[in-house]
Amino acid sequence: MPLDLYLNVAVSGVLTGLVYGLMALGLSVIFGVVRVVNFAHGEMMTVAMYIAVTLFSTLHLDPLVMLVPIAVVLFAFGYVLQAGLINPFINRPEHSQFLLLVGVAIIIVNGLLIIFGPSSQNVQVAYAFDSFQVGPLIIDATKAYAAVAAVAVSAALFIFFRSTMLGTSIRACADNYTGALVVGLNVKRLYALTFALGAACVGAAGPMLLLIFDVTPAAGPAYTLLAFVIVITGGLGSMPGALVGGVLIGLTEAIAGLVFTPSAKSMFAFAILVLVLLFRPQGIMGKRAA
């Protein structure tokens, strides 16, 4: 097979992987601080995708333009969900948290099925069929725009956590819960804000992913699983790890589909997960437990 074919597929995989990374970043943020594994993560992203579909079909609003408002909506949803439902479960056994969030996921999937039906939906933006030619490379325009947006949102999140007082406070809660309480931080509110930020990440990732893939209610669980694979590969609780994991998984799926058979793409992503769990269980960029 010609080299430009590998290059094209690799670039496509990296671009898709960056969006996956943003999706997984939200999961990593939530777990890193709140220590709750959000088993409704992918389902929340499909909610964002359907909001984008609805805004496009009714008001012809481009998903990339509506990225911030949709992220704000998911932010609010995440805040209310954490403060109202998840907070009491933080100190309960993990299986209780798991069941709660799986229940939330099932409600979301079936709610979307009732409202939107089972058929897949997409958006036909003006640039849906565009591509850029750079030498032998043909780059899908929608993937390129989505990847740039994903990098921008991720950068904004990094800056928030590193350079703002609120971000520093959230990191303090993650590093030392008791210490945060002692210095007077409102930990419950910070947890809710963190969950909301994680939800905002999928709120932003959803419209981006909609440019690349169609959405169905049944896609939620698959995205949740994908987010877990990425986060565990990259390192649970590590924000850079989520992005690296996303790119690695996106690239693996693309190259595996090319070299082997496209219908076995996911197998290689899970193979990487198994290898990471065997040889580096904390993930590529995660910190080993003390």
């Binding site: 010609p2 597929v9 899908d140 893939f213 589909g257 090319l258 219908s263 793409k265």
Partner: protein
């Protein structure tokens, strides 16, 4: 006292005469009783997947049922009482629904789109001795079991592939051009792999002008087909053969456009590329693909009648395989009922066996069944997307347009 003695009389001349007269009336009007029984509508159980992942197809087939009553009446055929049932896209449910319909009085069954579900229903129909007229199901074994009560007015997979090859050759002859190489992308479920295997087995027999360079399988639930199309493009093949469904047909087309590849032809075997949703979603970009599928003969009178009825009942819905073959199954039922003069299942089955309907919709000489219950005279068609509509290119006797060939480049469609 007198009254009591009268009431105890065993048989009087009056009562004997009355009884004799009554018997004579019954005997004399017996033929009229049979006519009155035939005047009653035939109870037809229609089994379709109305929920589950085949729901949209089942609901589309139902449109063929909904418009049939008026047309059958205009043809002078007896009326049918439709009893609907949902197979839920599940083989076990299909079997139990068939049994329930029969126990509720269905005198004939029609269904069920999917080969697996239809096979299950066929077993029930044969066991209970109730005729089944299959609307759509391509698996060859269904009519190879020696069943006496199962009839299929739809081409088998082998017939579909045979006509796919023959129609391609007819198109190559008309256009004076043929691809030398092709790449095949197929969905990797039961349907896709059976078509792929069938093609591999039959390809050498038809002396096609092209060589298939590569066969690429993909998951029916795949969200992204960019790698698959990139691989296909890298083969350098002139033609693109697709065995897909609606969602993947749309995804594949998008990738063809994004990756700047316009093959000489897109030849689709199966659904997707000609469906209303494909045409509506892609607009001008949907023009050109040729689908090699069971279809209708647009030149037949009854096709125009059915098309008009569908357009009136369901504006915006193009007539397709689902409507045509479901309607024809009911046509077979009504025709058999009229000729049998009875709703007796054996009489109905015998009447169906001698069906000879030439005023029909599907291509070929008409509806007639061989000893196995298969209409082996059916012909598949080659249809092409043209300006949001579908035209028939082959077979010659069912054609209403010449092929647009080669495929117009996607980047030159405005």
């Amino acid at each position: 006292m007198k009254k009591k003695s009268q009431s105890k009389a065993a048989l009087t001349r009056r009562s004997f005469s009355t009884g004799l007269g009554a018997a004579g009336i019954v005997a004399g009007t017996a033929p009229f009783n049979i006519v009155r029984a035939q005047g009653a509508a035939l109870k037809v159980g229609v089994l379709l997947p109305r929920s589950g992942y085949q729901a949209s197809i089942g609901q589309d087939c139902q449109r063929g049922v909904d418009v049939s009553a008026g047309i059958l009446k205009d043809l002078g055929l007896p009326s049918l009482q439709i009893m609907n049932a949902d197979t839920e896209t599940n083989v076990d449910v299909a079997r139990s629904r068939a049994e329930k319909l029969i126990s509720d009085g269905a005198q004939l069954l029609v269904g069920a789109f999917d080969s697996g579900q239809t096979s299950a229903i066929a077993q029930v129909a044969e066991q209970k001795g109730i005729p089944l007229v299959i609307n759509i199901a391509a698996a060859p074994p269904i009519t190879e079991q020696g069943y006496k009560f199962v009839f299929r007015n739809f081409p088998t997979g082998v017939m579909i592939l045979r006509d796919a090859f023959l129609n391609q050759k007819e198109i190559f002859q008309i256009t004076g051009s043929a691809p030398k190489t092709a790449v095949m992308l197929h969905v990797n479920d039961t349907y896709g792999t059976s078509i792929q295997k069938g093609m591999a087995a039959m390809f050498p027999k038809f002396d096609m002008p092209y060589q298939i360079l590569q066969e690429i399988a993909y998951d029916p639930t795949a969200r992204d087909l960019s790698v698959e199309v990139a691989k296909a493009k890298a083969t350098g093949a002139e033609a693109f053969i697709a065995v897909s469904r609606l969602n993947d047909a749309i995804l594949l087309t998008r990738e063809l456009i994004k990756q700047r590849w316009t093959p000489m032809a897109v030849l689709a075997i199966g659904p997707g590329w000609y469906e209303d949703q494909y045409l509506k979603t892609l607009g001008k970009l949907s023009d050109g693909p040729i689908s090699l599928v069971p279809w209708f003969d647009p030149n037949k009178k009854l096709s125009k009648v059915l098309e008009a009825a569908l357009a009136k009942a369901y504006p915006g819905v193009g007539m397709s395989t689902n409507h045509v073959y479901t309607f024809e199954a009911l046509l077979v039922a009504a025709d058999a009922y009229k000729r049998a003069g009875s709703a007796d299942p054996k009489a109905l089955a015998d009447a169906i066996r001698t069906t000879n309907i030439t005023n029909n919709v599907s291509p070929g000489p008409g509806i007639m069944f061989d000893a196995k219950g298969q209409n082996d005279k059916l012909k598949g068609s080659a249809i092409q997307n043209r300006g949001g509509k579908l035209v028939t290119l082959a077979p010659k006797e069912a054609a209403d347009a010449k092929p647009e060939w080669p495929l117009k480049p996607y980047d030159k469609r405005g």
